[in-house]
Symmetry: C2
Subunit: 214 residues, 2 copies
DNA sequence: CGAGATTTTGAAAAATTTCAACATTCGTGG
DNA sequence: CCACGAATGTTGAAATTTTTCAAAATCTCG
């Protein structure tokens, strides 16, 4: 299975804000449903669209010559991604699980560059925050920051599901899967988080986690 | 010494492209000269300007609660920085050595948001590239990528000067100063680079360095 | 030239990775 | 509905890398 068109009365793209729900459907854009692992765009492809996650999650990554994969960003429902400075994609983007993506063709809407700047700056903020996490020397600090970020971006008070695998998390945090797993276990043993299956997470002590992530 | 006004016929801000030289002086903006360590803006301050480096270099960083400092970006001559998504600075910016900064007040030029988008995307690209460097697990890979980036941004064929200290480099790469120093020494011993004093660098084997940085 | 700051080097300690084995989860089909 | 198998995740122990702490060397500037 690859791509399904959807009935899609989800709302218009440029009026949808990251983290919120689209509110206007006058300029409804095509929405496609991607299965897990589905490619949204590839490195080297010509870029001409922006993408907004309707549901599900997306990973954006680059492959290194030795086969390692560095994930530069995860995108959750409501978030917009796909900005490129020179008209070419320098990353791969793919659906993590079943994911709905709204597409905006930029050529057809040259006049909304003023609406694009805030979205681009949002991407910049996310990249900068991720940068700060990767600069941390301790694995536990990175994982703590990651969990808080995921919880906050999902607007969660207690239990939530991580859309991505441990391998994805490792490639996002610049760690190995084993180190990520060990940190999860340690946080669980200390009663800071509770795990429900492989994906379910519950943050028991928010402040402790915040102190860890600094 | 803090800030000097300059005669400044350097050229107009919005027409200057990162990496190039300003070409039009019809809308010349104020240029100030900062001494080493001079603050350009502080975290928490209201943001209303963009900045372009005329000469010298700038570091942009955040202080962590335990006193550590994470440098998110260095900016060299020609580059524009200071983008903020919400009108507030979330980082500190300061001159590394003697540095000339051209300032653009954004309120006075609301109509050039279309000229701003490419500059913002440029910042995004730099942040994403830095992200990939920080994701590398080996210190030598990070230092190799850093040296190549510095050389290329200065448009250098052979010898060039690093504007920043080893401590700055360490805080930029998420390493300790000792590790950075050891990697420099190792690269020198292997004949991959040559060092001239503390700041001068000469890349002897570009391809070897590229292979290291992947 | 000399003093302070910066950088380099060494050795031990700590953290992470690697390699290997084991456990758990999830989907599928009987 | 349970069992099976593949995929994913966890744990252990050794090897490697990086950090930490300490001291020596080098550089810069007055």
């Amino acid at each position: 299975m690859t791509v399904h068109p959807l009935p899609a009365d989800f709302g218009a793209f440029p009026f949808a804000l990251p983290g919120g729900h689209p509110a206007d459907s006058r300029h409804a854009q095509p929405v496609t449903c991607h299965a897990a692992g589905n490619e949204i765009y590839a490195q080297g492809e010509k870029a001409g669209c922006l993408y907004q996650v309707e549901f599900g999650a997306v990973r954006v990554y680059r492959l290194l010559s030795d086969g390692r994969r560095q994930i530069s960003a995860f995108h959750l429902a409501g978030e917009v991604f796909g900005f490129e400075a020179d008209g070419t994609h320098h990353f791969f983007a793919e659906a993590i699980g079943a994911t709905g993506i709204r597409t905006l063709r930029l050529q057809a809407a040259a006049d909304l560059s003023h609406a694009l700047l805030p979205l681009a700056l949002q991407s910049l903020v996310r990249a900068q925050e991720h940068l700060l996490v990767l600069g941390r020397q301790q694995a536990a600090e990175r994982v703590a920051a990651f969990l808080l970020d995921m919880a906050e971006r999902q607007g969660v008070l207690e239990r939530f599901d991580l859309p991505m695998s441990r391998t994805d998390i490792a490639d996002y945090l610049g760690l190995t899967i084993e180190t990520v797993s060990r940190v999860f276990s340690k946080l669980r043993e200390k009663g800071i988080i509770r795990l429900h299956g492989l994906r379910g997470v519950e943050i028991a002590r928010w402040q402790t986690l915040r102190d860890m992530s600094e």
